[in-house]
Every structure is written in structure tokens, then in C-alpha cells.
């Protein structure tokens, strides 16, 4: 199937994670122009190393969800031609609810929910002017089925899903649509550490019988950005091999 796209420039928030880098390669292959965000020198280095043979075909920009002022500078750099936004950004915060540090809790939601709301407002307004825009929020199966210790992570993901859902409801008529993708177990990043320790046990919970790869997820996101997926708006899609559907 040939995919078609209504635009070229794609923001990739949280652009230094493995999934984002895999997506960036797929976007470049599809003749799109990814703008990947990083929040420190390590992230910047990861992006440039992964895309070293793609110079001139992508951009890397500083954006830190923990630093509100970074948003204005970021948007000044990206300019007014934003067609797509794929959002991987999310800090980890693993703690039992009854054991969490209160100050950390406030900060976590400020960074991961309030900052995101401000960013969505500003990017959506750019898209309203352009009369087109497509957002894909990368949520997690943990939003629906968290393990102990994932309560804050799940709460921030669910709150962010709600923001994206409403954006799609409110602006769908203006050409701006949203999809929230909930991948299940992926053998990469923070999922890899867990699967290294609990892989067999986790696999028994997946009716599909296999974990996801970064390539699987990148291909799905590419499809969701394409005109072929235009019918999906303001909705969550579970991509977890049936993990969250069964008992």
C-alpha cells in the first residue's frame, strides 16, 4: 500500500528515544521532514548518531518539558509550517501512590500534563491557521492496565490522552485530528529492562504471543499520519497483541 501525506514537517516530541529515532528514519524514507526534540546533550548526541547519514533531512531542537520557557524558543525555531506532531515525551516516575514524594508529584504533573496542554494549545493554533494538522500521542498499555508503581505514569498518560481526545473533538471540523496509540510490551527503552527480568511471565499475558519491535510501532505511526488513517480521530488504539483486552 502506498501511503500519502497531507504535509511535510513532523514534530517528534521526545525525539531521542529509540522509538522516535526509528520513526524519524521511516519519515525521512517517506520524504517527510522530522523535527526531533531533545532535552540534553545526551539526547542530541543520540539523534545525530542515529541519523548521521541523513544530514539535511531532519532537524534537532531543544525542548524541555521541565522548563516552560523552552517552549517559546522551540516554536520560534520550528516556524509556522507544522503539519504533524508525534508525542513520545514522558518522564518516568515509578512509585507506589502511598509512598510518593509530594513535591515530586506536583512537579511531575506540571511537566507531563500542564506543559503538554500549553504545547498543544500553541501547536494547535498554528495548525488552525494552516487548516490542517495531525497529532499522534504515544500513550501506553500501562494507561489501561498499570502495574504497582505505575500509578503516576498511568495518570499522566490518561490525562494527556484526554487532552488529545478533546483536541480532536474540538478541532476535527477544522482539519485537525488526533489519535492516541497505546503500545504494549516493546523490547526497547524502559520496557526492555522490565522484559529482561519478567519476559516469560509477560509473554503469557499477550494473546498475540509476541512483543512489539520499534519497527512495528514506527510503521503503525507512519500509517496513522497518512491520509489512509484519516478516519481515526479522537480515539485510543490499543496495539498490544490483546494484552489489555483479556482478563
Amino acid at each position: 500500500m502506498t501511503l500519502h501525506f497531507n504535509g511535510k514537517k513532523a514534530l517528534i516530541l521526545g525525539g531521542s528515544c529509540d522509538l522516535a529515532l526509528s520513526l524519524a528514519t521511516a519519515l525521512i524514507e517517506a520524504q517527510l521532514y522530522p523535527v526531533l526534540t531533545f532535552r540534553n546533550a545526551l539526547g542530541r548526541g543520540k539523534i545525530d548518531a542515529a541519523l548521521s547519514n541523513q544530514r539535511g533531512k531532519y532537524e534537532a531542537c531543544y525542548l524541555n518539558f521541565g522548563e516552560r520557557d523552552s517552549l517559546a524558543a522551540f516554536l520560534a525555531q520550528t516556524g509556522e509550517e507544522i503539519d504533524f506532531c508525534v508525542d513520545f515525551a514522558q518522564e518516568d516516575f515509578e512509585s507506589l501512590i502511598a509512598a510518593a514524594d509530594e513535591a515530586q508529584v506536583y512537579q511531575y504533573f506540571t511537566n507531563n500534563v500542564s506543559f503538554r496542554a500549553e504545547l498543544l494549545k500553541k501547536v494547535a493554533r498554528i495548525m488552525v491557521r494552516r487548516k490542517y494538522g495531525r497529532f499522534v500521542f504515544i500513550s501506553s498499555a500501562a494507561a489501561a492496565k498499570p502495574n504497582p508503581g505505575q500509578g503516576f505514569y498511568a495518570a499522566a498518560k490518561l490525562a494527556s490522552e484526554a487532552l488529545y481526545r478533546n483536541l480532536g473533538i474540538e478541532l476535527g471540523g477544522k482539519g485537525i485530528t488526533t489519535v492516541m496509540l497505546r503500545p504494549g510490551y516493546i523490547q526497547v527503552g524502559r520496557g526492555k529492562t522490565y522484559l529482561d527480568n519478567h519476559g516469560g511471565e509477560a509473554l503469557r499475558l499477550v494473546p498475540g504471543g509476541k512483543f512489539l519491535t520499534t519497527g512495528d510501532v514506527a510503521e503503525t505511526i507512519l500509517f496513522l499520519l497518512s491520509t489512509s488513517a484519516a478516519g481515526f480521530n479522537a480515539t485510543e488504539l490499543n496495539m498490544d497483541g490483546g494484552l489489555t483486552t483479556g482478563k
Binding site: R125, V128, R129, E170, L171, G173, K174
Partner: protein, 126 residues
């Protein structure tokens, strides 16, 4: 083209109301049927056209009733409270709004015009 003409042009395009008369006294919601999504588009268009920062509450007097309730709860003079919340509006316009509030959404084209001119002046002074 002056500010009012620019606003009329933008409104006509967003609301698709070619031929309808728009004056400074026209109510955006009561007469033109403007909805919240249209106001969002209007804010975005004004930001792009006039190169000014647009705060949706201030330009569209959105939280008027909330401000009035707060003034009442805290024992402030409503007119003074509104003047602080909506610095682009004149004292005379605030009095007019207070007298008109029972009739429905008070926003008029001239309020949008005042905001744009006020923000433009602020920008020029920066």
C-alpha cells in the same frame, strides 16, 4: 485599511457572512451567531494579521461573569475589578457592559477593535 475594516474582513471570512452589515456596535454572539470555535479561529487570525499577542479571555471578554462573581465574593467594586481584568476597555464601555449583561453575551466588534489597538500600542511602546 483601518483596524475595523480588517476585523470585518476576517469575520466575514470566518463566519461566511458575505453581505451582512458589521459595525462597531454589532454583537458577535447575539447577532452574528459566533461560536467558541469561531472565536478561536478569530484569535488565531488576529494574531497572524496584526502580529500581536492575543489572550482569548481578554479580547473576547470571556470570563466576564466569573470576574463579576469574584468581585462580589471579595467585596470589590465590579467596574474597578473589570477595568483591571480588561485593561483594553474604557471606563465608559465597562459601564455599558454592566448595564447590558442581562441581555446575553456582551461582546461587540468594538471590543475586539479596542483590544487590537491597545495591544498594538503596547507593542509599539516596548
Amino acid at each position: 485599511m483601518d483596524t475595523l475594516d480588517e476585523i470585518k474582513k476576517i469575520l466575514t471570512e470566518i463566519l461566511d457572512i458575505e453581505g451582512q452589515e458589521i459595525t462597531p456596535e454589532t454583537y458577535l454572539v447575539r447577532e452574528l451567531g459566533t461560536e467558541s470555535i469561531d472565536l478561536l479561529e478569530l484569535a488565531v487570525a488576529i494574531n497572524a494579521h496584526f502580529h500581536i499577542e492575543v489572550k482569548d479571555d481578554e479580547i473576547f471578554v470571556k470570563a466576564l461573569r466569573l470576574h463579576l462573581q469574584k468581585a462580589k465574593d471579595e467585596g470589590f467594586d465590579p467596574a474597578k475589578y473589570l477595568a483591571e481584568s480588561y485593561p483594553a476597555l474604557t471606563t465608559a464601555r465597562i459601564e455599558e457592559i454592566l448595564a447590558d449583561i442581562e441581555g446575553g453575551p456582551v461582546l461587540k466588534v468594538k471590543d475586539v477593535q479596542s483590544y487590537i489597538e491597545w495591544q498594538t500600542k503596547n507593542k509599539d511602546n516596548d
